[in-house]
């Protein structure tokens, strides 16, 4: 009888625990799993893959950003800034658009290639790799990371420093796709006051952002406001707006406060 009572009490406790956990999650949201360094920035693209009985594409941002500027892909090639926003089809790729602008066997591997032995090699799995083990990727993130300056968050790589030190050389031009632009006039840096007391102000490097993104990647789609006209908060940024369109997704995450709040207090 005592065992039965204990069982009821334990069951009731577990029920209360699950209800409280569910209520907390509903109120404050479930905590997201922090991605592993090689996963940070990866985008799953599944507009049409599953419908066509293919695995969704896992796009590894790290290897692409290690070689190209953001503008090359998000302006010149035309990838939207939101995952799934481009609605890429296989026909698009075959026509040399989107992934097919580079993955054509000339710049990067093609969906189908002929090996040195004359055999046909299908590379579908190298992109359509969602939840598939044992794919022989050519580039290993952790090998690549060994030669890079360490960052504290995200990929664990300090990409700014990596470029400053010449460890990565970002290509900003793709023949037949990019255009010859007039030379960028360096925009001035912007000082943004922090709203939290004691938090250092932000020194926004307009120059660095413009070199990687051009002007048209951010204005007006992400920042469509004149300076100071619209107040945005850290909550907006956490929600993926303004700086949050890149930071916490591909660029260093918002948990790296000192990445932006850089003005010396004293």
């Amino acid at each position: 009888m005592r065992i039965v009572t204990k069982g009821y009490i334990l069951g009731a406790c577990l029920l209360v625990f699950f209800l409280v956990t569910a209520a907390y999650a509903a109120t404050y949201g479930a905590k997201k799993r922090r991605p592993k360094p090689h996963e940070y920035g990866a985008v799953v693209i599944n507009n049409f893959s599953a419908k066509n009985r293919m695995r969704p594409v896992v796009f590894p941002h790290w290897i692409h950003r290690a070689k190209h500027t953001c503008r090359l892909c998000h302006v010149d090639i035309g990838f939207a800034m939101r995952a799934g926003g481009t609605e890429i089809t296989e026909d698009d790729n075959k026509a040399g658009l989107y992934c097919g602008a580079c993955h054509n066997g000339t710049v990067a591997f093609a969906p189908k290639e002929t090996s040195a032995k004359g055999e046909t090699v299908e590379n579908c799995d190298r992109c359509h790799s969602y939840r598939k083990e044992g794919i022989p990727f050519k580039n290993d993130f952790y090998e690549f990371k060994k030669g890079m300056p360490q960052g504290r968050f995200g990929n664990g790589i300090d990409w700014l420093k990596a470029e400053d030190e010449g460890r990565v050389k970002l290509v900003d031009y793709l023949e037949g796709v990019s255009i010859r632009r007039q030379k960028l006039k360096n925009p001035e840096d912007i000082e943004i006051s922090a709203k939290e007391t004691g938090m250092p102000d932000i020194i926004f490097s307009h120059r660095k952002h413009a070199i990687w993104n051009g002007c048209e990647l951010c204005h007006p789609e992400i920042f469509g406001v004149n300076r100071g006209e619209v107040k945005y908060t850290m909550q907006d940024i956490f929600d993926g707006k303004f700086c949050g369109a890149c930071h916490d997704i591909v660029a260093f995450p918002n948990s790296d406060c000192q990445g932006c709040h850089t003005k010396p207090v004293f």
Partner: protein, 120 residues
């Protein structure tokens, strides 16, 4: 029939030398002028429309990195030209048109944004 004056079509042969009646000369002159006018107008219109769309795209979007240095009339003209290019792109039968529409809109929107910041 006068042996010195024979008619060959509308031309009159006088002493072996061909001379035309005044109407015929005028008619030919008008025809020549008409053809000349048609040729000139056709070449002018080709000159306007046959600027390849990709060249026009490259010209317009080539200004994005220096857009902040442009004045209000220049930005206004660029926006108008982008809109005109978008109309041309919409009519294309080319799979690449969707990316060029996307890119042209990005350029136009930047010019418009900078124009607004300049109070234009």
């Amino acid at each position: 029939m006068n042996p010195e004056k024979t008619f060959v079509g509308k031309a009159v042969v006088c002493n072996g030398i061909a001379s035309r009646p005044r109407e015929a000369v005028l008619w030919n002159l008008l025809m020549s002028l008409g053809i000349l006018f048609l040729l000139l107008s056709a070449s002018t219109s080709w000159g306007e429309e046959e600027v390849p769309w990709k060249d026009e795209f490259e010209r317009l979007c080539g200004y994005t990195d220096v857009a902040t240095t442009l004045d209000v009339p220049q930005l206004t003209e660029l926006i108008t030209d982008c809109d005109r290019l978008l109309e041309r792109l919409e009519m294309l039968n080319d799979p690449k048109k969707k990316t060029y529409i996307f890119r042209t809109k990005k350029c136009r929107d930047l010019f418009r944004f900078i124009l607004e910041t300049k109070g234009g």
